[in-house]
């Protein structure tokens, strides 16, 4: 009995083994993400020019004051929220529909699975290149097709129209993200127990009620996780937007990340750029906190 109290080296290492296991990844993240993040925060309280980054001077909360007073920032915040919400809703909606569809058809399932791998696997830069051409107002295939179907007038503008640029961007985003969403939702869908299903069917539940009372509650946690992930990705997305529109026209697709990039790299205002980045980061954190609170509520209610 007494022997147990005595700490042998082996027991010691057992006790702290998790830190040994975690050390490489945590140290690595601290170096490559933690340190730059802190430096970024620090930058946001300074006036620093990218041409002369060593001549930085502290300005307190001035950048934040300017930011919240600038109409451009509010506009880009609105664009960001519009973009994030619609692309998340779009990906979830289309993803769920596709997942339900795959769950229904045995033959179609493999076909759809193979088909939706394409948008999922294609690199964003390649996607941006082809969509730029497809959206071309004069010779683009999208206009040709939609005009032939009498849906849009001839020479409709997409990426260069202040009203349609953001929806076009959302379309491309949904196109890229719905496959993964649907595949993960399908996995969740298939974990719904068959007995539960049968029991509900015997009770006379219709298709809609089956979905509402049996399937949906089961999938809720997965839907929540996907919502969170899709939102965070949307808040961060840069390459696609940059290559497709660079925030234009008339700033109609200038999200916070685009603004951050322009401010930091085109105008060289590193301090102000870092301020935008910090605010964006805080927004993401808020999203996550909101998610965890909501997830906890769901967990409690399903228990």
């Amino acid at each position: 009995m007494q022997k147990i109290k005595q700490r042998s080296p082996k027991q010691f290492s057992r006790k702290y083994a998790h830190w040994v296991l975690l050390a490489p990844s945590l140290l690595f993240l601290a170096m490559v993400m933690g340190y730059p993040l802190l430096r970024g925060l620090q930058l946001s309280f300074t006036e620093t020019n990218s041409l002369t980054p060593t001549m930085s001077k502290g300005v307190g909360f001035k950048n934040y004051q300017n930011l919240f007073q600038s109409p451009g920032f509010v506009a880009s915040l609105v664009v960001t929220i519009k973009y994030a919400v619609s692309s998340v809703v779009g990906a979830l909606g289309l993803g769920l529909a596709t997942a339900l569809l795959m769950n229904r058809t045995a033959k179609g399932k493999y076909f759809i699975r193979a088909a939706i791998t394409l948008p999922w696997a294609a690199p964003p830069i390649a996607v941006a290149l082809i969509f730029t051409w497809m959206f071309n107002p004069q010779y683009g295939v999208i206009n040709a097709g939609l005009h032939a179907l009498k849906i849009v007038p001839k020479e409709t503008h997409w990426l260069d129209s202040p009203t349609l640029a953001l929806p076009s961007l959302v379309f491309v985003t949904v196109w890229m993200t719905f496959p993964l969403t649907s595949l993960i939702l399908l996995a969740a869908l298939q974990s719904v127990s068959k007995e539960l299903y049968e029991a509900a069917k015997i009770d006379g539940a219709g298709t809609f009620n089956l979905f509402r009372y049996v399937t949906f509650p089961f999938m809720k946690p997965t839907i929540y996780v996907m919502t969170l992930l899709l939102s965070i990705w949307a808040l961060r997305r840069f390459d696609l937007i940059w290559v497709l529109t660079q925030g234009g026209p008339v700033d109609s697709t200038t999200t916070m990340v685009v603004r951050l990039f322009r401010e930091s790299f085109e105008f060289g205002n590193l301090g102000y750029g870092a301020t935008i980045g910090t605010v964006g980061f805080v927004l993401s954190v808020l999203c996550t906190v909101f998610y965890f609170l909501a997830a906890r509520r769901v967990e409690e209610s399903t228990r």
Binding site: P24, F28, N49, Q138, P162, Q246, G248, E266, F267
Partner: protein
């Protein structure tokens, strides 16, 4: 225990390995210098420029020049960020407005006295690279803008090569046939802000405008600029141009015979004829068809990165390029009417590219697109003006309100 330590060692060595892996500096007898120029990324001219670098490398055993090609759209941003962080290429070719910014921030090296004045003498704009008696670069190339038309398309529409603005409007109108053919093309989209600024400046300059007055006060909403922007917007609204097309697209369209006229710089006819030799005979080139003989001028220079520790080798490279034989070669390769030195295009080149004579003749009309007296804020002013013009084209803002708003914004930018 054994196993445990083995995994520990693997994990640790990966970490150590990662943090200490620095590129092995090739400190052999050969000094490697990097030379960045967006023209490397261009079809045709990129290869020609690479061949010039290859020639340098072939004739020098101790210095090796490596081309760095960054596309124009992201060039200034990328290079300036790198130079600001005390890294980046050793030799950099920069647009003049970018050079001015870099010089003010101390990012380009003072090379006073190191450059051997070429036998033929520097071109006149060389003085632009000397600030307070110190040299911060050498001119690389300069070109103005001219009207480039496809003779065949004009003839088919019964239109003539325009010399006045009224004729220009008539010609463009006559040669526009919906999406089958456009009378004109110009930049009008956000991702092309840089080029858009040159295009727009041609219109405002052409109606006698300027972005600032002689004292550096902004004159964005002057009557002349208003006239230029108004006419520019009319062209857009009338669909004389392929709306939304970027330069890459409409240039392709031009060499495929889908666009009658462009206003573009001296290197563009070369691109057209390289891409489609059949169009060469149809190119007719003359003065921009605006009332005032003033057009945008591109000035490009080559400087040394102040953070580079290979100045000596870099200077050698610059001086090698300034030799008369190399200047001739560069001129031919780049299809440029004006380069660093006063050398005029040789007869053979003029025969091959007759438009160079026209561009050279128009050289006196050229005005830089940097707002005089506010050169350092060119990027910010450009952004403010273009954003408003964007609204004129796409949000039904009147040109007058747009330029008034831009003027107010520019005043704030300049603190006036």
């Amino acid at each position: 225990m054994e196993r445990r330590s083995r995994y520990g060692v693997i994990a640790a060595s990966v970490l150590i390995g990662l943090s200490s892996l620095s590129p092995i500096a090739a400190e052999a007898a050969v000094t490697k210098i990097t030379y960045s120029n967006w023209q490397f990324a261009e079809p045709g001219r990129g290869d020609a420029l690479r061949a010039i670098v290859d020639q340098f490398n072939a004739t020098h055993s101790t210095i090796k020049v490596e081309p760095v090609s960054i596309p124009y759209a992201s060039y200034a941003t990328t290079v300036l960020t790198q130079m600001g962080a005390k890294s980046g290429p050793d030799v950099v070719t920069l647009d003049y407005d970018v050079m001015v910014k870099a010089q003010a921030a101390g990012l380009v090296a003072d090379i006073t006295g190191k450059v051997i004045t070429p036998t033929s003498g520097f071109a006149a704009y060389d003085s632009k690279f000397i600030v307070d008696g110190k040299r911060y670069g050498i001119p690389w190339q300069s070109t103005g803008y001219a009207l480039i038309c496809n003779k065949a398309l004009l003839a088919a529409a019964g239109a003539k090569f325009p010399t006045t603005f009224e004729e220009f409007v008539a010609t463009v109108k006559a040669t526009t046939k919906g999406t089958d053919q456009y009378g004109f093309a110009m930049r009008n989209t956000t991702p092309q802000e840089g080029g858009w600024w040159y295009d727009l400046s041609n219109w405002t300059y052409g109606f006698g405008g300027a972005w600032t007055d002689s004292k550096g006060n902004p004159t964005i909403n002057s009557a002349e600029n208003l006239k230029g922007v108004t006419e520019y917007a009319k062209f857009y609204d009338a669909k004389y141009i392929p709306q939304g097309a970027d330069a890459t697209t409409y240039r392709r369209m031009t060499w495929e015979g889908k666009v009658a006229c462009n206003i573009d710089n001296g290197s563009v006819p070369t691109i057209f004829s390289d891409s489609n030799p059949a169009i060469k005979a149809n190119l007719q080139i003359g003065k921009t068809p605006f009332p005032v003989a003033k057009n945008a001028q591109i000035l490009i220079g080559t400087s040394l990165n102040a953070a580079s520790n290979k100045q000596a080798a870099s200077v050698k490279f610059l001086n090698w390029m300034l030799q008369a034989t190399m200047q001739k070669k560069i001129q031919a390769a780049m299809g440029a009417e004006a380069i660093a030195t006063k050398i005029l295009p040789p007869a053979a080149l003029l025969k091959d590219k007759p438009w160079l004579k026209t561009y050279a003749k128009l050289a006196d009309n050229g005005v830089l697109v940097l707002p005089a007296g506010a050169e350092l804020k060119t990027a910010e002013i450009r952004k403010a003006v273009i954003a408003q013009v964007d609204k004129v084209l796409r949000s039904n803002l009147s040109p007058k309100d747009a330029l008034d708003a831009a003027q107010a914004e520019v005043k704030t930018i300049l603190g006036k």
